[in-house]
């Protein structure tokens, strides 16, 4: 049984510009706009915490190089160097 923590999408909230493309691209609808604002005044995207299948759509749809990190299905924190 895989760790429920992964796969997982992680939004770097201060780099998010709140465009919503990741939310639209998520097949499982597990990304939502936060009710909070980040330091730039955007309602950033955030992961609801469950249901990510690690497809990577959010990563590739996100125009910001460093706003989203996706830990894929095969990610195992113990094997990472």
């Amino acid at each position: 049984m895989a760790d429920a923590k992964y796969p997982r999408s992680e939004v770097n909230l201060d780099k998010c510009k709140g465009c919503g493309l990741c939310i639209a691209a998520c097949p499982k609808k597990v990304l939502v706009f936060s009710s909070k604002l980040n330091s730039k005044g955007y309602h950033y995207a955030e992961y609801t915490g469950t249901g990510c299948v690690g497809c990577g759509n959010c990563f590739y749809n996100c125009p910001e190089p460093d706003a989203i990190t996706v830990y894929l299905r095969n990610y195992d924190p113990e094997k990472e160097v």
Partner: protein
């Protein structure tokens, strides 16, 4: 190795240190901009293909002008539309590098329309990523060649009218008309599956480039939420609904295994090698010892002006050529009309030690006026304390300046007396030698066979007489 994490690719710089302002951790692009998506695909592909350090990216004019903030590659930023030309030079000089020309639709299809066509037709070994968002984004949302019929922009407030504005340009179709391109594909960023296809196209183009397989052209249908005045998600829908029917996706050209590496001659970039090839020594090759030159003639900026056909250019070239033999730095800059003879002509000559800045003699220390219009036009430009030589055979007015030295010499008349009007150039050189003390007559005469290479001995002898006549006239009359 299979990826376990999708994160900021190594093709990007860690901290965008070149970016102005305080926000060095995020791009300048608007929220939802397609550039960011394509940037990420390129950066990822460069990392995976291990070509980041072997890539030179040419950034265009447009929003992606600042691509060099983000990519950890070499970079040149080209003038508007000229990225394919700069990429050509970069690629020719560095045949082993991956050269990317990243361009928008205004840049590529309008201002640089001919540049891309010529580069494609030559099959330059470059990758072109063409971001088509149907609008001029950076400048505020004006109509581009790719703007759709009926699309409202700031310059087509009632929608693009094909009767007045022409039709949307389909660049993939245009580029695929040429024989040379290796790979031409149109892709889109409007949803996740299509972004994956774009990812594959980007990787294929860069892989081909890594193997030096000629001209790669990837057109990417993209968005401009700000210019289109739509939210980012709606923009993606707009691409799907409006752009896809007009701009069909797909591979327009793929030479596949037929694609071959073309080995072009690499231009010589090292000055020392260029000099060697030209048979020129890089060391100062001083043939003649300098005479005693008065201070005011040590740094000369000379304007020679007259009719075309009066030997204006020859005079300037001869001045520069002779001075070179005394070890001066020289420049010669011609300026003339389209006609070979009869129009006005002038040239600027600089003779000095040290670095020559502007080649044009805007404020000459010496004016050599061969006809009246030249005297009238340039007399005022001579610096105070400067020198004026004028052709008194043809100029029937007196100079007005009193703060310069004036030498009236019947140049044309003297040349005529020698039997050939065309030798007046060398009368000028003789006069210059006498006035400035910079050249010796025998030195000039010894250079004549070199200056008039291929001419008959009689012509050379006549010119030697002309030098002497000009020199003697000044010595006897002033």
């Amino acid at each position: 190795m299979k990826k376990t994490i999708l994160k900021k690719p190594k093709g990007f710089i860690d901290v965008y240190k070149h970016k102005a302002g305080a926000e060095k951790d995020r791009t300048h692009y608007c929220p939802g901009c397609g550039h960011g998506i394509l940037h990420k695909l390129i950066a990822e592909a460069m990392e995976d293909l291990d070509i980041v350090d072997d890539t030179i990216l040419i950034s265009p004019v447009g929003c992606s002008v600042f691509a060099y903030y983000y990519f950890d590659t070499g970079n040149f930023q080209a003038a508007h539309g000229r990225a394919p030309a700069v990429a050509t030079a970069t690629s020719r000089a560095n045949p082993d590098k991956v050269v990317i020309s990243y361009q928008g639709d205004g840049d590529l299809a309008a201002i640089g329309g001919n540049n891309i066509i010529q580069a494609a037709n030559r099959g330059e070994n470059i990758v072109v990523f063409f971001v088509n968002n149907a609008i001029y984004g950076m400048t505020g949302g004006q109509m581009a060649p790719t703007t759709l019929e009926g699309q409202v922009t700031t310059t087509t407030p009632y929608g693009r009218n094909t009767d007045t504005d022409g039709y949307p340009m389909k660049m993939c179709e245009v580029i695929s008309q040429f024989t040379a391109p290796t790979y031409v594909e149109r892709v889109s960023l409007h949803d996740a599956p299509h972004i994956r296809k774009t990812r594959a196209a980007v990787r294929k183009a860069l892989q081909n480039a890594k193997e030096r397989k000629g001209f790669q052209f990837v057109e990417v249908l993209s968005t401009c939420p700000s210019g289109w005045k739509m939210d980012p998600v709606k923009s993606m829908e707009w691409v799907k609904e409006k752009m896809l029917p007009l701009y069909p996706l797909g591979v327009y050209r793929d030479k596949g295994d037929e694609a071959r590496v073309i080995n072009r001659p690499v231009p010589i970039m090292e000055p020392a090698t260029v000099w060697e090839k030209l048979g020129i020594s890089a060391d100062a090759d001083v043939d003649f010892p300098r005479g005693d030159v008065p201070e005011q003639y040590k740094k000369m900026s000379i304007r020679v002006a007259g009719f075309g056909g009066q030997g204006i250019m020859v005079t300037g070239q001869a001045l520069a050529s002779v001075a070179l033999e005394y070890g001066y730095n020289v420049s010669w800059l011609p300026s003339y009309g389209p006609e070979m003879r009869g129009g006005t002509a002038n040239c600027s000559v600089n003779i000095q030690d040290g670095v020559i800045g502007a080649a044009e003699a805007v404020k000459p220390t010496m004016l050599l006026a061969m006809n009246r219009p030249s005297l009238e036009k340039f007399e005022e430009s001579v610096v105070p304390g400067g020198t004026l030589i004028y052709n008194s055979t043809l100029i029937d007015i007196e100079p007005t300046r009193t703060d310069i030295k004036v030498f009236a010499i019947p140049i044309t008349g003297m040349a005529d007396e020698l039997g050939n009007t065309r030798v007046q150039s060398l009368v000028n050189i003789g006069a210059y030698a006498a006035i400035t003390g910079a050249f010796r007559v025998e030195d000039i005469v010894s250079l004549l066979p070199k200056l008039f290479k291929g001419k008959k001995q009689a012509i050379i002898d006549l010119n030697a007489k002309a030098v002497k006549a000009g020199f003697d006239f000044v010595k006897e009359n002033f």
